[in-house]
C-alpha cells in the first residue's frame, strides 16, 4: 500500500493506482476525457493536469502512478492555467454550437470550459470543418467537429469489446473517428460509445434533437429484456421514454448495455401496443371489460370452484405484481394453479446460483448449450473483461455447435443436440468414478459415449474432466434446456471444494423474482396446467404478461390447451399470438410504467422506478385484480406493500439447501435420414422479446444458421436464403445464413422469431428441407 497526500488529505491506496483514482476515492474531482477505469491510462487529452510537489512540470493524473510520500495539488493557479491552456487547444476547431447540441447541459467539455476555460478564444483563423452527421450505424452519428479525439470509443470497441470497428483516420487536426472501411459498425455493444463520449460527438440517433437535458426526468431502472437486468437510467420527457443509458454501480458494474437494452425502449409506443380493452374481438370500454371478466370469474367459481381457474404469468411482471397475482389466486380465487410461462424445462437450485462477482474471479468458465453473446450479451462482455484481466482464463463451450468466439477464445466440444448433461456426467465419470454419486450417474448412462463433430479425443475429455474438478473458481453458464443438467451440476458441486457457481442464462427475465414472490417456476407446473387445460379441467384462464403460443415448447399443444378453456383472459402490453383464442384482451402496464423489483440471473433484486404513465386505457395488473375482487364482493387489501428484500440477505436472495442428485438417463438419438437436420433452439436477445421500431434494422434478417456444407447442398448462398422445413408436427419456413460454427446436420434457430416459430416443430426435432411452395400450401 502507498500513502500519499492529495490536497492536504492523506490516503492509502494499493500500488499501481493512478493519481486520478486516488483523488476520486477522496471525493476530489479531477477532470478527465480520455481516461476510463475500464480502459486504463492513455494520456491523450491532457485535461487531468495536476501539480506534484518536486516535479518540475504539471503531470497528467491519469498516467501518473501513486508513489510513497507524493504530495499532489489538484487545484491552484498553475493547475488551472494548465487546464485552461489544454481547453484552449481542444476548442480551437470546436464549432461552439452548444445551443443546438444534444449533449449541451450534460457535457464535460462544456462543464470544464465553464470551470477552467477562458471566456473567449484567441484563435482568429478560420476553423477546420468536418462532417457533422456521419452515421456510424443505424443508431449512432458522430459529429466530427465536436470530437476531442480522446479515443475512448475506439479503445472501448477495440480493446475492451475486442470488435475492432472504430479507428482514428488521418493525422493532426484532420484526424477523425471513423468506422473500418466506412462500413456501419454492427457490434451488439455499439451504443456504449454514446455513454462513453465525454463531449457531444457521438450521439444517439433516436434521441437526437428530442430534448434538452433540463427538460428531462430521469429514473433509475433495470433493463427488462434479458436475465442480466443491467442497471439503467431511463430518461423521459412529457410522458414518453426517450432514452436509456447505462447506470454504473461503482465497484460492481461498469454500466455497459447491449444495443437491445439501450435502444429497445420504444415498445411502449409502437403501433401494436395495446391501448384498449377487447372483448370477443371488439374494442370495449375498460369498465365493460372489467364487469364482464368479473362476472366470468364469479360464474366460473360458482359452477366449477376455485381450482377451475388458472393463472399464467409471463416475463413482463415485476416481483410485486407476481406477489399480488399469487395472493389474488390464493385469497380471492382460491386456486393453487399458478404457473410461469416459459420455453425451457430446466431449473437451477438457488444454492448453485452464482453472481457476476464469480465471473470476475473465475479461472474457468463453461458455456452449456448456448453462446452468452446471443442470449445475455452483457455477460459476454463480463467474460471478456475477465479474459482481459486474466488471459489464462479457460473458456469451454459445450453444446450442439461451437459456442466460443474470437473475442474470448476457448475450447469447443460440439456434441449431438441435447446431450450436454449426459456428456458432462460421462466426463465426470471418467475422472471421479470413485465418488458413489458419480459412479451411479455413470452406470445410468450405460454405454453412452459422445460423438464429437470436429476432432476431440477421449484424452481431451479427461483433460476437461480434470479441469472441471481442479479449477479454483469454476463458473458455468447454463441455457436451462435439459432438465437433467440440474443433477449433473449438483453432482459436480459435490465433487468440488472450491467455488462452483452456475449462472442461468434462460428466461423469463424475472423468473427468480416470481419464485421469491411465491410462484413456483418449475416446468412441471406449466406442463400440468397445459395437461389439465386440454382435459377440460380449466374453465377460466388469466394469462398475465404471458404468451403461451410463443413461449411453450409445443405450439400445437399450447393451441389445444387454450382452445379447451371456456374463457381466456389476457393482460399484457400486446396482443398474444392468435388472439382469436382469447376471449378478452386487456391492456396492461409494463416496465417504466410501474414501480417494481426485478431479480436477475444472479438472484439479485434491483428496483426499477416508473417514469411515465401507462398509455391509453392500460393499467397495472393490481388495478385489475382489485376490480375483479370487487366483482366477487371480496376484499383484496394490498397494504402494507410487500417488501421483497430480506434485510439480512441484502439484495441477493438468500440461498437455500441443495436438493438431491436425481438420475440422468442415457439420451435417445433420433434416427436421421440422409439430408435431415436437427433443430437447435437458442435464445437471441434481439428476437422473441418486445417489439421495437428503433431496433428494426438490427433484427437479424437471417435468424437461422446452418453449416456451409448444408447451405451449399440446399442452395443457400450469400447473404442467406429461405428454407422450408418439415417436421413431424408441421412445416415452417426460415430465413437462414451460413455460420461456420454450426456443424453439418444442425440448424440453429432462435426462439420466438416472428413467422418462423421454432416450437411449431420442436426444439431438437429432426426436420427435412422442403420446397417453399409446400410450406405455403400447409
Amino acid at each position: 500500500m502507498i500513502r500519499l497526500t492529495i490536497d492536504d488529505r492523506e490516503i492509502t491506496v494499493p500500488e499501481g493506482t493512478m493519481v486520478v483514482d486516488a483523488a476520486q476515492e477522496l471525493g476530489i474531482d479531477v477532470p478527465i476525457y480520455c481516461y476510463h477505469q475500464a480502459l486504463g491510462p492513455l494520456g491523450a487529452c491532457r485535461i487531468c493536469l495536476v501539480q506534484v510537489e518536486k516535479m518540475p512540470k504539471l503531470v497528467t493524473a491519469c498516467t501518473t502512478a501513486v508513489q510513497e510520500g507524493m504530495v499532489v495539488h489538484t487545484r491552484g493557479s498553475a493547475v488551472d492555467k494548465g487546464r485552461q491552456g489544454v481547453l484552449e487547444f481542444l476548442l480551437i476547431n470546436h464549432p461552439l454550437d452548444c445551443p443546438v447540441c444534444d449533449k449541451g447541459g450534460e457535457c464535460f467539455l462544456q462543464d470544464y470550459t465553464f470551470q477552467y476555460g477562458s471566456a473567449a478564444g484567441r484563435y482568429d483563423e478560420p476553423k477546420i470543418h468536418k462532417l457533422k452527421d456521419a452515421a456510424i450505424n443505424e443508431f449512432i452519428i458522430i459529429d466530427q467537429e465536436r470530437c476531442v479525439l480522446c479515443q475512448r470509443c475506439v479503445r472501448f470497441m477495440g480493446e475492451y469489446v475486442g470488435e475492432e470497428q472504430l479507428l482514428l483516420e488521418g493525422r493532426g487536426v484532420e484526424t477523425v473517428v471513423s468506422t473500418v472501411s466506412h462500413q456501419p459498425m454492427d457490434s451488439q455493444f455499439s451504443g456504449n460509445v454514446i455513454d462513453l463520449c465525454p463531449v457531444g460527438a457521438l450521439l444517439s440517433i433516436p434521441y437526437r434533437y428530442k430534448a434538452r437535458p433540463w427538460n428531462l426526468e430521469r429514473a433509475e431502472s433495470v433493463c427488462p429484456h434479458c436475465p442480466v437486468a443491467c442497471t439503467t437510467s431511463v430518461t423521459s420527457r412529457e410522458g414518453h421514454v426517450i432514452r436509456v443509458e447505462g447506470r454504473p454501480i461503482p465497484g460492481h458494474d461498469w454500466g455497459w448495455l447491449c444495443d437491445r437494452g439501450r435502444f429497445g425502449y420504444d415498445f411502449g409506443y409502437v403501433e401494436d401496443r395495446l391501448l384498449n380493452a377487447w372483448l370477443d374481438g371488439e374494442i370495449t370500454s375498460a369498465a365493460e371489460s372489467t364487469r364482464t371478466i368479473g362476472s366470468w370469474l364469479n360464474d366460473t367459481l360458482e359452477q366449477h370452484g376455485g381450482d377451475s381457474v388458472a393463472f399464467l404469468v409471463g416475463g413482463q411482471q415485476t416481483m410485486e405484481e407476481a406477489y399480488q397475482i399469487r395472493r389474488f389466486a390464493d385469497e380471492v380465487v382460491g386456486t393453487s394453479k399458478v404457473a410461469v410461462s416459459r420455453s425451457v424445462k430446466g431449473y437451477l437450485p438457488l444454492g448453485l446460483n452464482g453472481t457476476f462477482e464469480d465471473l470476475d474471479r473465475a479461472d474457468t468458465i463453461v458455456y452449456l448449450g448456448q453462446d452468452p453473446y446471443d442470449a445475455v450479451p452483457v455477460v459476454h462482455l463480463k467474460v471478456r473483461d475477465r479474459y482481459r484481466d486474466n488471459p489464462g482464463l479457460k473458456v469451454i463451450g459445450i453444446g450442439a455447435y461451437d459456442l466460443t468466439r474470437s473475442t474470448v477464445p476457448g475450447d469447443a466440444f460440439v456434441l449431438e443436440p441435447g446431450e450436454e448433461a449426459a456428456f458432462l456426467a460421462y466426463t465426470l465419470a471418467k475422472v471421479a468414478a470413485s465418488n458413489p454419486i458419480i459412479a451411479r450417474l455413470g452406470e445410468e448412462l450405460g454405454d453412452f459415449s459422445p460423438t464429437f463433430k470436429g476432432a476431440k479425443s477421449e484424452q481431451e475429455v479427461e483433460t476437461l474432466g480434470r479441469q472441471l474438478l481442479e479449477s479454483e473458481h469454476l463458473v458455468l453458464l447454463w441455457d436451462g434446456k435439459d432438465p437433467h443438467m440440474e443433477s449433473v451440476l449438483l453432482a459436480l458441486r459435490g465433487l468440488r471444494e472450491d467455488v462452483t457457481a452456475v449462472l442461468p442464462t434462460f428466461g423469463p427475465a424475472n423468473w427468480r423474482g416470481f419464485e421469491r414472490a411465491g410462484i413456483a417456476v418449475d416446468y412441471d407446473r406449466l406442463e400440468a396446467f397445459v395437461e389439465e387445460a386440454i382435459q377440460g379441467k380449466i374453465h377460466l384462464l388469466f394469462s398475465i404478461g404471458a404468451d403461451l403460443l410463443r413461449d411453450y415448447p409445443d405450439r400445437e399443444r399450447a393451441k389445444a390447451a387454450l382452445a379447451a378453456i371456456d374463457r381466456v383472459v389476457s393482460v399484457g402490453l400486446f396482443f398474444p399470438e392468435q388472439r382469436e383464442l382469447y376471449h378478452a384482451v386487456i391492456p396492461g402496464a409494463g416496465w417504466s410504467e410501474v414501480d417494481g423489483t426485478y431479480t436477475n440471473m444472479e438472484g439479485r433484486m434491483q428496483v426499477a422506478k416508473a417514469t411515465v404513465q401507462p398509455p391509453g386505457q392500460s393499467r397495472p395488473v393490481r388495478t385489475y385484480l382489485g376490480s375483479w375482487a370487487h366483482a366477487l364482493k371480496k376484499s383484496f387489501v394490498l397494504e402494507p406493500e410487500w417488501d421483497p428484500f430480506d434485510h439480512n440477505a441484502g439484495d441477493l436472495i438468500a440461498k437455500d439447501a441443495l436438493p438431491e442428485v436425481q438420475s440422468v438417463p442415457k439420451p435417445a438419438r433420433p434416427a436421421m435420414k440422409d439430408g435431415a437436420l436437427r433443430l437447435v433452439g437458442t435464445a437471441l436477445v434481439m428476437e422473441g422479446g418486445m417489439p421495437s421500431e428503433i431496433l428494426q434494422p438490427r433484427i437479424p434478417k437471417y435468424p437461422g444458421r446452418i453449416s456451409l456444407a448444408d447451405a451449399s447442398r440446399l442452395g443457400i448462398g450469400e447473404p442467406g436464403g429461405e428454407l422450408g422445413l418439415r417436421g413431424q408436427q408441421g412445416m415452417i419456413s426460415v430465413m437462414v445464413a451460413v455460420d461456420e460454427r454450426i456443424p453439418q446436420g444442425v440448424l440453429v434457430l432462435p426462439y420466438g422469431v416472428v413467422g418462423s416459430p421454432l416450437n411449431q416443430l420442436g426444439d431438437g426435432a429432426v426436420v427435412e428441407a422442403v420446397s417453399l411452395e409446400e410450406v405455403s400450401l400447409r
Binding site: 475492432e164 479507428l167 482514428l168 483516420e169 473500418v180
Partner: protein, 155 residues
C-alpha cells in the same frame, strides 16, 4: 491479393523484430505496384501481417504519401510551407489548377496528373518548391511552371 505479396510480406517481416514495423515498407512496396491502397488492399495487408484491419487503415490514413484513392501517373506536390508561401506557392498552385482544369487534391479525368498540396518539404532554398513523383523541382517560376507538366518523369 497478388501472389507475390505473400513473399514481400515475408521479406518485410524478416527485416524487423515485430510485424507492425514491417507495415510501412510493405505498404510502400505494394503501393508502388498498385499506385494506391484500396480498401481491399488494406484488408489483404492486415491479413498478411496478422494485424487488425483498423490498425492498418489508421496507419495508411496517417501518412499523406499513402494514397487511398487512385492517383495519376504524374503526381505533383506543391509545397505550402512558409518560405514557399512567401515566394508565391499560392500563385503557382492556382496556375497549375488553371492549366489542368482541376482543383488541388484532384486527378485529371484522363488519369494522367494529380495535383496535391504538401506541407513543408524542407527545401526552402528552392522555394517555391514542387515535387514531381517525389523528385524536387525548384525554384519554380511562372516560366518554368509548365515544365512540371511536360518534363520527363521518372516513376
Amino acid at each position: 491479393m497478388k501472389p507475390e505479396w505473400e513473399l514481400w510480406a515475408q521479406e518485410a517481416k524478416a527485416e524487423f523484430p515485430k510485424a507492425n514495423s514491417a507495415l510501412l515498407p510493405l505498404l510502400h512496396r505494394i503501393q508502388s505496384q498498385e499506385h494506391y491502397l484500396s480498401e481491399d488492399t488494406i484488408r489483404d495487408v492486415a491479413v498478411l501481417l496478422k494485424l487488425p484491419v483498423p490498425y492498418v487503415e489508421s496507419v495508411a490514413s496517417f501518412y499523406s504519401l499513402y494514397y487511398k484513392n487512385p492517383v495519376g501517373k504524374r503526381i505533383i506536390h506543391v509545397c505550402m510551407g512558409l518560405s514557399c508561401a512567401l515566394n508565391g506557392s499560392d500563385e503557382l498552385m492556382h496556375h497549375l489548377e488553371g492549366k489542368l482544369g482541376i482543383q488541388e487534391g484532384q486527378t485529371t479525368p484522363d488519369g494522367e496528373v494529380s495535383l496535391l498540396e504538401a506541407e513543408c518539404l524542407a527545401a526552402c532554398n528552392l522555394a517555391p518548391v514542387a515535387q514531381v513523383n517525389l523528385r524536387f523541382v525548384g525554384p519554380v517560376t511562372e516560366d518554368t511552371a509548365d515544365q512540371l507538366l511536360t518534363g520527363e518523369v521518372k516513376s
